[in-house]
């Protein structure tokens, strides 16, 4: 029943999204038509979806498709000219930028927090404990004050932007056990963690909701406020990338993300606005 209720709430939220549209932000799309293809980082999707919906509803001639795939896919596909905007949760490497002539647009800041199942009593860890868990040295929840069950590790694929920031700033580049399960997106991570009482993984702060419990790292909780004031250090920019300077619909779309309405959306979805 709560699921249904949550679903209704989500639907209601989508409907009311239109209420925080600032006057005029959608006007630039007037008279525009055609298709805009977006793909890449899965952390971006919640914001992208609502933004696209607002644009399409106001201007039905515009078609926008949004796909996942991960940061690596976003950078690669925009570089190859397969899509108009590639999303990435990490900076493109110098090699990628020079190879393809990419331009990055950073429109939000996002934290990446470790998460466990809500039933798990362990919700506070130090960086050392986190490193121990992910390298496989700490293999049982009992050692951390939890139940006597093996810890199930969940990792992301190597091209994930969420993983790269978590590995660099959360695990401080410590080894990750090869026995960890690997899931292909932020959404799949949330599904896996919320279904497995003995699991630990990591998701973008924007994705944290009731279905997973955030883990306080060295006394700092992965919340929006802590990311914003800089005390939670495991954070990264969310980028939209174009090949060369953004043009046409892609430019309008990115401008919309930077507009007051777009930045409101960023906040509503649990990210830190850049403006």
């Amino acid at each position: 029943m709560t699921k249904l209720f949550r679903l209704m709430l989500a639907a209601l939220f989508l409907v009311t999204c239109a209420t925080f549209t600032h006057a005029g932000d959608l006007d630039s799309f007037k008279g525009q038509g055609g298709a805009l293809k977006i793909a890449g980082g899965t952390a971006h999707i919640p914001v992208m979806k609502v933004a696209a919906k607002m644009i399409i509803e106001a201007h039905p001639d515009i078609r926008i498709t949004i796909a996942g795939g991960g940061s690596g896919v976003g950078i690669k596909q925009v570089g190859e000219g397969l899509i108009d905007i590639g999303n990435a949760g990490r900076k493109a490497t110098d090699k990628e930028i020079s190879n393809y002539g990419l331009v990055m647009h950073k429109w939000a800041i996002d934290g990446v927090g470790a998460v466990v199942n809500p039933q798990n009593p362990v919700t506070e860890l130090t960086t050392e404990q986190l490193q121990g868990i992910f390298s496989g040295k700490i293999a049982n929840w009992k050692e951390l004050g939890g139940e006597d069950r093996a810890i199930n590790l969940y990792d992301r694929d190597a091209a994930s932007g969420t993983r790269s920031v978590f590995w660099k700033k959360g695990l401080k580049k410590a080894d990750v056990s090869p026995k960890a399960n690997v899931v292909p997106s932020n959404g799949a991570m949330k599904t896996a963690i919320s279904g497995d009482p003995y699991s630990i993984g990591f998701v973008s702060v924007g994705h944290i909701d009731d279905s997973v419990a955030p883990v306080t790292l060295d006394g700092v909780a992965p919340t929006l406020d802590n990311v914003k004031n800089g005390s939670f250090a495991v954070a990264r920019g969310l980028y939209s990338i174009t090949k060369g300077d953004a043009q046409g619909l892609a430019k309008l779309f990115i401008d919309f993300l930077f507009s007051p309405t777009g930045q409101e959306l960023v906040k509503a979805k649990g990210f830190v606005a850049v403006k």
Binding site: G69, G70, S71, G72, V73, K76, T93, K95, E96, N99, R149, A150, N152, Y154, D157, A158, A159, S160, S177, P178, K179, A180, N181, V182, V183, P184, A188, T191, A192, G195, D196, Y198, S199
Partner: protein
């Protein structure tokens, strides 16, 4: 009119040859793109057990083993299930029910894999975690159980078709001797129709080995060498799906062409071996019996 028939013939021939050439072209392309690895002598190193791109080791042996284990285990679960289901639909069930069963099976063959995967995440995975294997529930055995269900309809349909193609007079003769349905199956249908059975098994195996989504969603995808079937493992197909997002010019991206090549070679070996079996099998049937088509009844 003759001209139209002729050109249609040419069209068909071109299409058939085109699809054959396509397979060869794919093989060549993968070999070509994977060539840097083979040339630099690191090809052998690919069949080591450690996959760790940050540490510059690119062993795909755990994935090869993962693919083989999941595929064979899926067949192990699926074969008894499919044969029994085929017997039920063709021999044991009341006549009125047989058609319904067949319709249901054909419907099952059309269900998208993602639906099976999604349902299994919420039903089978918790079950496995709590009652059967200690661990996350994402494991080789979980994936192969679901794959077994996935490949069953293909196999059942082939088995049923095989049994139906056995000449009616033979069946009538066996029936008139008072054989029970299962006696008919063991002594007449199985010996007569087993080439079709083999083809069904090959297609089932091919589907199990080629499936990406089920193993990606359910097998856990860990890169460690699986020590038991209750552990998390990664198949070649899931590996390709996970690594394809990597940087174009990186080494790990090059290795996935070798994965593709390995996978294709597996499939070719599989088909060749069963074709050989089929060849010898059907040769013997023709020698012992009259030609299998009985003419007009």
């Amino acid at each position: 009119m003759i001209n139209a028939v002729k050109s249609f013939e040419h069209f068909c021939r071109a299409m058939a040859m085109g699809s054959g050439l396509l397979l060869i072209a794919i093989l060549f392309m993968m070999a070509f793109l994977g060539w840097p690895l083979i040339e630099s002598g690191r090809f052998i190193a690919l069949f080591s057990t450690e996959w760790n791109p940050q540490g510059k080791s690119y062993g795909i042996l755990p994935m090869v083993m993962g693919s083989l284990r999941i595929t064979l285990l899926a067949l192990f679960f699926s074969l008894p299930m499919s044969i029994s289901a085929a017997c039920l639909t063709e021999l044991l069930a009341p006549r009125s029910l047989r058609r319904l069963l067949l319709i249901a099976i054909r419907f099952m063959a059309g269900i998208p894999t993602v639906v099976y995967g999604f349902v299994a995440i919420f039903l089978l995975v918790p079950l496995m975690r709590e009652y059967f294997i200690q661990g996350s529930g994402f494991s080789i055995i979980t994936a192969s159980l679901v794959l077994a269900v996935l490949i069953a309809p293909t196999m059942i349909i082939f088995f049923v078709n095989g049994m139906q193609s056995v000449p009616r007079p033979y069946c009538a003769a066996v029936d008139s001797l008072g054989a029970r349905p299962m006696q008919k199956f063991v002594y007449l249908l199985l010996p007569q129709a087993y080439p079709t059975f083999l083809v069904g098994i090959v297609l089932g195996l091919g589907r199990a080995m080629g499936d990406t989504l089920i193993s990606l969603m359910l097998a856990g995808n860990s890169v460690a060498m699986p020590e038991s079937i209750a552990e998390s493992g990664r198949t070649l197909t899931a590996h390709i799906a996970l690594v394809i997002a990597a940087d174009f010019s990186s080494m790990e991206f090059t290795t996935i062409f070798v994965c593709g090549l390995t996978l294709t070679l597996f499939a070719i070996c599989l088909i060749l071996s069963i074709r050989l079996l089929d060849h010898f099998g059907s040769g013997r049937v023709i020698q012992v019996e009259n030609p299998r088509r009985p003419g007009h009844e």
